[in-house]
């Protein structure tokens, strides 16, 4: 049972200009688990995801300390190939962000950039749509603009688009924050089916979702890691008073 972790984060601190978003966070995330990150606004959840696929590089005045590894790869080393890293670590943003193109073009963009042969693309797109449980709804209009889909469909398209890239890790930043309960349920079911093949990190400030959908959970507060453990344990017998306060809705 002692497998090396898929992702290891070691004493990670992160600053936006003067604001410290993460404060010496250390975490180990296992392969093929759904790992939940919860915490109130500004607790550093989204920042952590942005560091893990180096989207944080785009922030001009940010600074970080600490280490993070994906298998044996040093994520934060300056000479790490960011583009191939992002292909291994897919990120789905909280707002659905389909590109202003057709559904099909959205799906095949990543595989095409990765140099997959033309012939494989339609099959890849179909497989990804099926995995994201969107296939039946869009199979007859793959060449319509992606912007015409509903919010829930758009978000599942973004998930499908990330799956088509065939990453190893999927980061989800509040993927259901703008969605109705039915779309939310569909996405959660999808994640459950995907975890046999991927390692999934789910950020949410909806504690019920974390309780429903994840195997293990970490609680972040003002950039600090307060508690981490099996989700069932965190939600029934939290070790820290602040975790207890948060999940029972006394703040946040």
């Amino acid at each position: 049972m002692e497998q090396p972790p898929k992702i290891r984060i070691d004493g990670l601190s992160f600053w936006y200009k003067d604001f410290q978003a993460l404060d010496r966070v250390s975490l180990a995330i296992r392969a093929n688990e759904i790992f939940g990150l919860m915490g109130p606004a500004k607790s550093g959840k989204s920042t952590l995801l942005k560091v893990l696929n180096r989207l944080c590089d785009l922030l001009p005045e940010a600074r970080l300390e600490g280490k993070a590894y994906l298998d044996d790869l040093d994520l934060l080393a300056p000479d790490t190939d960011v583009v191939s890293l992002r292909r291994r670590v897919g990120l789905v943003l909280s707002k659905p962000t389909p590109l202003p193109r057709s559904i099909y073009e959205n799906l095949v963009l990543a595989p095409r950039l990765a140099g997959r042969p033309h012939k494989e693309l339609p099959a890849l797109a179909e497989e990804a749509l099926k995995a994201a449980r969107l296939w039946d709804e869009v199979k007859d209009r793959l060449h319509d603009s992606a912007l015409r889909l509903s919010g829930g469909q758009q978000q599942r398209l973004c998930l499908a688009r990330t799956l088509a890239m065939q990453p190893e890790v999927i980061l989800l930043d509040e993927p259901t924050s703008g969605l109705d309960p039915i779309s939310t349920a569909k996405i959660e079911e999808t994640l459950f089916q995907l975890k046999s093949r991927y390692t999934i990190i789910l950020v949410s400030n909806n504690t019920k979702q974390i309780a429903r959908a994840t195997d293990r959970t970490a609680f972040l507060l003002m950039g600090r890691l307060i508690e981490v453990g099996e989700t069932s344990q965190v939600f029934t017998v939290p070790r820290d008073q602040r975790t207890d306060d948060y999940i029972s809705g006394r703040f946040g």
């Binding site: 785009l58 001009p60 992002r86 202003p100 963009l109 950039l113 890239m165």
Partner: protein
Amino acid sequence: MTSKGIERLLLVLALSSVGSLALITFFIFWEGLPLILGTGPGDFLFSTHWAPTKGRFGIGAMIVSSVVVTLGALVLGVPLGLACAIVLAEFAPKRLKQVLKPTLELLAGIPSVVYGFLGVLWLVPLIREHLGGPGLSLLAAAVILGIMILPTIISISIDSLSAVPDLYRDGSLALGATRWQTVQRVVLPAARSGIITAIILGMGRAVGETMAVIMVAGNALKLPTSLLDPVRTLTSNIALELGYASGRHREALFATGVVLFVIIMILNLTAAAVTRRR
């Protein structure tokens, strides 16, 4: 003054500027149309024989010159301007952009006679010595116009590139695209309508420019056969001859104006249509 009164005053001011456009339109067509119909539109537009004193009014050569000069300006100005806009909007540090964008827009404020003057002093001799011909040429006009349309193309393109939401860029980068691939496959297509508008407006500027073109194009009345030939454009023709024209000759110059007016209107309407279709 009451608020109602101010509203009325503003309405009158707004209507008067629209009204002057209507008057200009009416006047140009009133003066020019009879001659076009009298000569026959086919003869007027396609004949290259322009001899006002002998009653021959064919502006074919000038239409061709205007079109070729404009296309030449686009060949030069569009790649340069677009490249400049992409660098400034997507890759340059914010501070450099803040300095460079207004500087480039200053280019638009330089009077066209100054461009013409520089063209006569430097560009024309350069062409004459290195490429041959009289120097005063289609090529010289195209180069000068290519530079003159840069600010239009750059500043509208930058605005439309900057209007592309950052979410698209993040989404694309998160899918493993490099920054250049993101620009090429996501940002440029998303900004396409704005860029097309920029090109069309630049084209309008090139078609309508007069002073600089008169100074460097050579103004010969014939169909150009090479880039080094001197040419006369529609606008130059009006400006050069209106001073001494009278009667039918004067009408023919107004008719040239009608043709220009229609070209510019088509360009602007196309630009407006492209902008609306998002």
